[in-house]
Amino acid sequence: MAATNQNDFLIQFENISKVYQMGLELVHALRDITLSIRKNEYVSIMGPSGSGKSTLMNIIGCLDTPSTGKYFFKQYDVSDMSDNELADIRNKEIGFVFQTFNLLPRATALKNVELPLVYSGVNSSKRKEIAQQLLEGVGLGDRITHKPNELSGGQRQRVAVARALANNPSIILADEPTGNLDSKTGKEIMILFNKLWEKGNTIILVTHEEEIAHYSHRIIRLRDGLVESDEKNGNPIVPKISELEEIE
């Protein structure tokens, strides 16, 4: 790989720790983590339950703040930022995909996808247009007026992916995106991620499943809040063209 310059780093962790207090006991969810992730990387984070994967993701996504250490997002020091600035980063730079989808139950697919655009101040007609395009992009062009409970799990997760893409963010953060899906629908989601990565997006996902992790190009393993290993995946799974087109 060619020499890279510092500015390629999207995410830089310097000695990040996260400590929770549980009664008298201190829980060290993350211990002194230092790592960097570049633009257009495709990373998966693995590790046993309780090892700190979600905590790490939440800090990367500016949903949570570290107890100690420095986090630079695009060279900006996140620890200096106000609540409003963090909200703005979450809105414009980060797209979350959750294991439990986290869609608004009473809103239609279209409305759910529009939501990030509401907070970035896009006007109503433009919002509808963008959301419609994104839903078509994940193969749900004919489901835009459905509410979450009228959609299958796989379809819900695709709505969530479309929502994550609404403001054209730099990173997609997915915490066990296939955890609640069967292997076939899980694969559909992975095909979507692959497409996004090919278009230049940075993707970070948490997973338990080795097979899912093998879609990515780098695998970080956590144990007890520490990085156990951080390796390149020299042989990522590439979905076949026919599979890619299935979604279109």
Binding site: D64, N84, A87, D88, L104, Y119, N123, R163
Partner: protein, 417 residues
């Protein structure tokens, strides 16, 4: 704050209220009652203002009445009773001397005088003796027939002009002009009817008859009779000057030394404003107490329901924060919900009060004619006041729950089930 955020907050609020109709209705009950108090109070006071204005217009805002009695009612009745009567001679002397006034007329009154028509007796009607000039004041405006003339004054003609209600109680068919009635046993010829003056403050004015002063004194005698003097200043700006002159002349006529207190009163329409001020104070006192109480209950109810709403939507708040909703947006969302809840409540009280007020003002005066001044409509101004007050109440009630919502931790909220 972005426009899309504001609009979103309104849509969410309406959605949430729609999804919990009964709960929202019960929560806003206190506000509904509070707003209803405001509306009914405002409506009653608007009615009062109208009466006051009517009264002043009828009497004329440029009129002074020199009298043994004081209209304000604030004075000791016994002291007033002990005052010497204002005699016909004093009144005539005053009228001769006064310069600044446009016109001055002596007026004599007798309450509850027996009036006979054919073989029917009427007992509740007052008789007023005055001069033909009285017919030129607003209170003597003619509806039908004519007022008596200066020569009828001079020759003590037995002619009578009826006020509106008196006319229709004696002549239900309105055919009294040209007929003869007996007042205190004396025959009088009916020559005219005065327009309805009808104000609730002075409802007796419609229930009297007018005769020439000389005839009046011939009928009822002038011994120990106290007259009053109506003094028309010509314009409200002249009042002060005319009042000063009036007091000066009357002091002279009544033989008062400079250090002695007045033994007569100079009444004017301002006195009515004072007496209604008291009434106004009562309405506000009672009304405000009840209103504040129901608003307190209302605020507690709404605050409570908003806490429930925040708790129920913890997950939603987490989702919104995760995708970039700033604190202020969440804060605003819940304050708007609470404000809209109250605004809808005030709309309901407006509709309810409209129906109530229309019914009251339409049907109640049939039983109690003296309250016929009440308008069947709510003044538009009250719509704005009620909306404004309800929005303020909503903001106050929603503030604490909204602050709590906006401070929720996004990670914790997302985990909430």
């Amino acid at each position: 704050m972005k426009f899309s955020e504001i609009w979103e907050a309104i849509v969410i609020a309406l959605d949430s209220i729609k999804a919990n109709k009964l709960r929202s209705f019960l929560a806003s009950l206190g506000v509904v009652i509070g707003i209803s108090f405001v509306i009914i109070m405002g409506w009653a006071l608007a009615g009062l203002d109208k009466v006051l204005l009517d009264t002043i217009n009828m009497i004329g805002s440029d009129m002074l009445y020199v009298d043994k009695w004081d209209w304000s009612g604030g004075q000791n009745w016994k002291l007033l009773q002990a005052r010497k009567p204002i005699t016909l001679e004093q009144a005539n002397e005053f009228i001769k001397r006064v310069k600044t006034a446009e016109v001055a007329i002596p007026i004599a009154k007798r309450h509850r005088t027996l009036i006979k028509y054919e073989n029917l007796n009427f007992e509740g009607i007052s008789v007023q003796g005055s001069l033909s000039e009285y017919g030129l004041t607003p209170a003597g405006a003619i509806l039908d027939g004519r007022f008596f003339s200066p020569s009828e004054d001079m020759y003590s003609a037995n002619v009578v002009v009826f006020a509106y209600n008196a006319y229709y109680s004696v002549f239900p068919d309105g055919d009294g002009i040209g007929k003869t009635v007996k007042i205190n046993g004396h025959k009088f010829y009916v020559i005219g009817v005065v327009k309805k003056q009808g104000t609730a403050l002075l409802d007796f004015v419609d229930n009297q008859v007018f005769v020439p002063l000389s005839s009046f004194l011939g009928c009822f005698g002038k011994y120990r009779r106290s007259l009053s003097i109506g003094v028309k200043a010509g314009s409200p700006e002249m009042l002060d000057e005319v009042r000063t002159e009036t007091i000066g002349i009357m002091r002279g006529i009544r033989g008062l030394e400079p250090w002695e207190e007045l033994d007569f009163s100079v009444n004017e329409t301002k006195t009515f404003e004072k007496s209604t001020d008291m009434f106004r104070l009562y309405v506000w006192g009672i009304g405000i107490g009840m209103t504040v109480l129901s608003f307190i209950v209302g605020i507690i109810g709404i605050t409570n329901i908003m806490f429930v709403s925040v708790a129920e939507r913890t997950k939603e708040i987490g989702i919104r924060k995760a995708i970039g909703a700033p604190k202020r947006s969440i804060l605003f969302q819940f304050i708007i919900e609470s404000a809209i809840l109250c605004l809808i409540g005030s709309a309901f009280s407006f509709i309810g009060c409209s129906v109530l007020i229309y019914a009251v003002a339409t049907f109640l005066p049939k039983a109690f004619p003296s309250i016929s001044f009440l308008s069947p409509y709510i003044p538009l101004k009250l719509l704005y006041i009620a909306s404004f007050v309800s929005i303020i109440v909503g903001i106050l009630a929603g503030l604490i729950p909204a602050i709590r919502a906006s401070n929720l931790d996004p990670v914790d909220s997302l985990r909430y089930e």
